[in-house]
């Protein structure tokens, strides 16, 4: 009897012991990025294979922040390293992130490095990888490109004409826009439409130029696939033919280029009267103050910033390095296409680069909601542009006043909170 009990006890204790040791050895890398299953697998097998004891777990933003907050509130946790977008960190209390100044690794962009301080005097996260939003088109659409329009230097008018030509020729509206529940439409308005037409995002929110911008967008919407309100990853619609011309995040177009590289082209976003607005996407790695093994966490962050790891990350996630690396020739088609388009966009004569919203803290979601609500009211509900802008302006102004966030490019700098003019 006694032996049986002992065996039983051992049998019960064994898995507990195993899980306890593995929990101690593995650094939990808790990420909102590289979430699709293939990307997670690539992260584990290519990016993190050369460092021992890392448990890579990618999650939606909701579960990600919920678990993190629970660990922070409890004062102890299992998460070793965080991987998330700049906006995710901006919504957190900077005091919950360990200072990383003494780590000796930074990105090659001083803008990114200063964003990573989150308004404090210390580095709160290390810029990890970057991306942007570009346009992509099915090659079949190229024949309808307006005469003497250069696909690498399109204006909004030419884009609309192009989409209209396709609409007329095929009988279907084939411009694809990520207006679905998980789509990144608000980034288009904040980083592309507003800067291109008003040379601002916040100050010019309800200006006459903004009215003109929305009128232009309505023209484009005429030729936009009406099912766009269900589109969140335009690679799907490019591949199944529901969209021939599309705007989206580089990594949300990647699958189309990787699966059928000869069928699609990538090109810069269009330009408006105030230039060619565009905006970066910045992901960073950070260490929460509750990390169980600080040294192991810091080792992982250093590993991620090595040039060879950054290259592996590029192949795994289609996010570009933030340190100086020599790009090899054998890159996946999506990386080549997106890299070229981004390079053309940033080096164009009329480039009007915007920065990521900063200083909004936990109001980042509300800030984006102002823009998506404006879109839904003007475009989907058909409300009057001027009325909607004046109405939404109050909400935007309240957010800026409450957070005291100063203006960021392309808005002119402000003393104190960025005013909505």
């Amino acid at each position: 009897m006694k032996t049986i009990r002992n065996t039983l006890a051992a049998a019960i204790a064994l898995p507990i012991a195993i899980s306890a040791t593995s929990a101690q050895a593995d650094v939990l890398f808790w990420s909102t990025q590289a979430k699709p299953v293939q990307e997670q697998q690539a992260m584990r097998e290519q990016v993190l294979a050369s460092i021992d004891g890392v448990d890579y777990q990618a999650n939606d933003g909701g579960p990600w922040i919920t678990r993190l907050n629970a660990e922070l509130e409890a004062g102890s946790g299992a998460i070793g390293v965080l991987g998330a977008l700049h906006g995710d960190y901006a919504a957190m209390d900077p005091a919950d992130l360990v200072d990383l100044d003494d780590l000796g690794v930074t990105s090659n962009s001083s803008t990114f490095n200063s964003l990573a301080m989150l308004g404090t005097d210390n580095t709160k996260y290390i810029p990890w990888m970057q991306a942007s939003y570009i346009m992509a088109a099915n090659k079949e659409a190229l024949q309808y490109l307006p005469e003497d329009a250069d696909i690498n230097a399109l204006s909004y008018d030419e884009l609309i004409q192009w989409a209209a030509n396709v609409h007329e020729a095929t009988g279907e509206a084939k411009f694809g826009f990520p207006a679905g529940p998980k789509g990144l439409k608000h980034r288009f308005f904040q980083g592309y439409l507003y800067p291109s037409f008003t040379d601002g995002v916040v100050r010019t929110f309800a200006s006459d130029k903004a009215v003109a911008a929305w009128e232009k967008f309505l023209e484009l919407w005429e030729h936009t696939n009406p099912a766009s309100t269900n589109f969140s990853f335009l690679q799907e619609q490019l591949l199944n033919g529901d969209a021939w011309i599309a705007f989206d995040h580089t990594s949300r177009l990647a699958q189309a280029f990787n699966e059928r590289p000869d069928d699609f082209v990538a090109f810069p976003a269009p330009a408006g009267p105030e230039g060619r607005g565009f905006m970066p996407v910045l992901a960073g790695v950070a260490i929460p103050r509750t990390a169980p093994d600080m040294d192991a966490s810091k080792e992982l962050v250093k590993h991620l910033m090595k040039p060879e790891t950054q290259l592996a990350t590029l192949k795994a996630t289609n996010f570009f390095p933030v340190v100086d690396v020599n790009l090899p020739a054998d890159l996946p088609p999506a990386v080549k296409a997106a890299g070229d388009a981004v390079a053309k966009m940033s080096s164009s004569a009329d480039a009007n680069p915007g920065l990521l919203p900063a200083g909004l803290g936990s109001k980042g979601g509300d800030f984006s909601k102002v823009y998506s609500d404006t879109f839904e009211r003007i475009v989907l509900a058909g409300q009057d542009i001027r009325t909607v802008l004046n109405d939404q302006k109050g909400k935007l102004s309240a957010i800026m006043q409450e957070t005291g966030a100063p203006c960021w490019a392309p808005d002119a700098p402000s003393e104190g909170a960025c005013p909505v003019e």
Binding site: P226, A227, N230, G365
Partner: protein, 281 residues
């Protein structure tokens, strides 16, 4: 063991479980909803009610429940009486009918999306049969009626079975003698259904309706899959407040609104379908 205490002892684990995982979070959510930046306040509710999407999502949720639940009730009654009369293969039919119950609501939404989307089955079929020249976009802001219909269809397909199961069990409890007596007096099948099945089914109808109506107010994943951003519902707004805007107070406030509506409707159903003490079997 004292026989009087045994029942309490037996329900103790469930009670503890519910207190820990339901009552405690519920109290937290309720207090969160009424907590502003400085102590007690109604600011979360003001914030939620002043949002332009709130009246729309409230209207959509109620409309959807009003359209879906009666159809489901009728269908479930019909199916339950049919199953009840079957001699052979009763279990097989019941299993097949309850298959949708085993599918998660998001998966159900995606199945119906595969039917209705632009390159979906419905379009390819109509094109193949020559009714249309090219696939058309069915689920768009231009066809709000169709979006509503698709969501309602998916809900009916997915969740009728839960009522069916309850009603089948309820019908099984009705003593056969009533039917035999009615037959002796020459009552038609329709009369028997109206005068015997329906009145004696009240307790089951109550349960089925309460469950179904509460679930109808919590509809989320099917709408998210089929309607995208087009068709805001209360639960979707709760999700948006919590996870997109990271505003837990607002999310808690809408959650309480949903709870309030659910309680109100539950009370109404309990009242309408109450079984008088003397009439219980």
């Amino acid at each position: 063991m004292n026989a009087n205490r045994l029942p309490y002892l037996l329900i103790l684990p469930v009670t503890l479980f519910l207190c820990l995982f339901f009552l405690y979070p519920f109290i937290q959510v309720a207090s969160q909803a009424f907590t502003g930046s400085d102590g007690f306040s109604l600011s979360n509710f003001e914030n939620v009610f002043s949002d332009w999407k709130f009246p729309i999502s409230l209207k959509n949720t109620l409309l959807l429940a009003a359209a879906v639940v009666p159809v489901q009730l009728g269908l479930a009654l019909l199916m339950a009486t049919m199953v009840n009369r079957m001699q052979k293969g009763r279990d097989l039919v019941l299993y097949v009918w309850t298959i949708p119950l085993g599918i998660s609501d998001l998966a159900a939404g995606i199945i119906w999306l595969a039917i209705f989307e632009q390159s979906g089955f419905l379009n390819s079929m109509m094109q193949g049969l020559g009714f249309i020249d090219r696939p058309t976009t069915l689920l768009s802001y231009k066809n709000m009626g169709l979006v509503f219909l698709a969501i309602a269809l998916a809900e009916i397909w997915r969740a009728t079975a839960i009522m069916l199961v309850i009603l089948v069990a309820g019908i099984g409890l009705i003593p056969k003698e009533y039917y035999e007596a009615a037959e002796v007096f020459g009552a038609s099948p329709w009369k028997r259904f109206l005068r015997i099945t329906l009145p004696l089914l009240r307790p089951s109808l109550q349960t089925a309706l309460v469950l179904r109506v509460i679930l109808a107010f919590e509809i989320f994943a099917v709408v998210a899959a089929l309607g995208g951003t087009l068709f805001p519902v209360l639960m979707g707004e709760t999700y948006a407040y919590q996870f997109e805007r990271l505003n837990s107070g607002g999310a808690a406030a809408i959650a309480l609104v949903i709870l309030g509506i659910s309680i109100a409707f539950t009370l109404v159903i309990l009242r309408i379908l109450r079984v008088p003490k003397g009439a219980q079997i």
